[in-house]
Assembly symmetry: C2
Homo-oligomer: 299 residues x 2
């Protein structure tokens, strides 16, 4: 096996983490927390989501949070945007990067945003082009790539065709999501082998959830394919929307433990990451990261 | 990457799991539980440890448990044995396989059994030879191979020399242990590359703990080396003696989820394994397996 020397980590805790936690975290705490995250060596932080506040009440304070955080010039601050209205709000607070999203599963997309995939694509194409006019980086999220709670297996050809549309509309990078944390290493190997026939490896990020404990094994396979871009959330924030109490996003701290010990650089400080996980733990129910379990057991 | 089609799993929950849990489980519950495990398709179950009851009070009922379980002829029932006295007790109840143990770390061995490695080897050599005379299979455990809580890194040459002694004394198989769950995939790759220069892959089993979340990634690297023999404990029993509340043994149910989805046969039934984990959960504090978290969140 052959691994890269350096990896970029995208901290998605304030967005993908908090949006799946039951608790509403006060804006002031989010701001303090993101300020802590900004000092961990992170180069990318997803601060919130500019969806309609009724959709995700946990992130209804997106504008306030994005406005009041202290910007570290070494960090790209990103936010999720579903449509032009969301884009206007994101541009108003001048986030650095715009994240578009859709699902590789027709049913999941429909249940998530009440539109078919074909109805969704022109909307985000429009957002992408406007974001580009405003000189913003654009990231695309493709979710449920490795399995859907409604449809089960997802055809890789469908994922390829969606990625193709996203890159054609000018998206800079696509995050390939295992939204419900079902992927196994053989599947990741197969999916990446196909995707990398069409798209360059430095344009893809992998987004694993640790619901069934396979996230780091899936990271390993991705590293072996030369992927150097991974999404994660401090403390393993985010649970699983389909099984409350289950593990959520791959924990940034678990990812850092493995990568650093493998001799792979990330630029991030694991102690500071754990500190920021301990901070947000005061506002949500128990976190699922292994590093946190060790720390908490020693307190 | 290249993976085997079939893997053997050694269920160590009743021994390595329970010995690291704070609670004393009643013998009757252990017996019921091991009887459940015997019906999961498991081919190997480590039922207890014949160490002095003062050392590990959790397993002081080894004789009663081994005597009263219902033996499934398809299962090898094994037990840990530290010396001739322990062997006599194990032979009295006619376990199928005798497990010897020592640490690759001098300090850990001393703290664990109050003897140097050089003092330990002749003792277990004697036990091994007597066990063989009684037509028993003999398994050797080498612990703290990937790191020791007292000494830190362990020299692989030390591990090789211990394994060599064990195989020379007639041990049939050696379990290579990451006792405190620190191993990373690059380290596992390096250690296995060296070990497999000296010893055949079908004589080695890998014993990972999931303390830091890396167990399945380490299994993946081992599979890629052709290892087909893994130790695990249902529900992730066993905690971590150095950080109470932290994750313990690699959960058999997590291991099965990954292997089965990768298309690798184990002969075990994951639903029955989870049932047996739910049973023992009534007697110990919360289990750490991801499959259990999903099940418990749905109850």
């Amino acid at each position: 096996m052959n691994f890269p020397n350096k990896v970029k980590i995208n901290e998605v805790g304030p967005r993908d983490g908090l949006q799946n936690e039951a608790e509403l975290v006060p804006a002031a705490a989010k701001i303090d927390w993101i300020n802590m995250l900004s000092e961990t060596g992170a180069s990318y932080i997803e601060v919130s989501s500019f969806v309609h506040p009724d959709w995700i009440p946990q992130l209804k304070d997106a504008t306030e949070v994005a406005k009041k955080i202290k910007r570290n010039p070494d960090v790209t601050y990103a936010a999720l945007v579903p449509n032009n209205k969301g884009l206007d709000r994101a541009l108003e607070v001048n986030v650095d990067e715009i994240c578009l999203f859709l699902s590789a599963s027709e049913t999941h997309n429909k249940n998530n945003i009440n539109k078919t995939i074909d109805q969704t694509l022109p909307i985000i194409e429009n957002v992408s082009s406007k974001a580009k006019e405003s000189n913003k980086q654009v990231r695309g999220y493709v979710s449920t790539v490795f399995g859907c709670p409604y449809e089960g297996d997802i055809d890789v050809e469908k994922v390829i065709s969606i990625c193709d549309r996203l890159f054609t509309m000018g998206v800079d990078e696509i995050s390939i999501g295992d939204t419900i944390g079902v992927a196994d290493p053989v599947q990741v190997d197969k999916v990446l082998t196909k995707l990398l026939k069409y798209f360059p490896k430095d344009k893809l990020a992998m987004h694993f959830h640790d619901t069934r404990g396979t996230a780091l094994a899936n990271v390993l396979v991705s590293l072996n394919h030369g992927i150097t871009n991974f999404d994660s959330a401090v403390g393993g924030l985010g649970g699983c929307p389909y099984a409350k109490g289950a593990s959520g996003n791959l924990a940034t701290d678990d990812l850092l433990y493995m990568l650093h010990r493998m001799g792979i650089e990330t630029g991030m400080n694991i102690d500071k990451v754990i500190e920021s996980a301990l901070y947000i733990e005061n506002y949500v129910s128990s976190l699922s990261s292994h590093q946190m379990k060790i720390i908490n057991s020693e307190r």
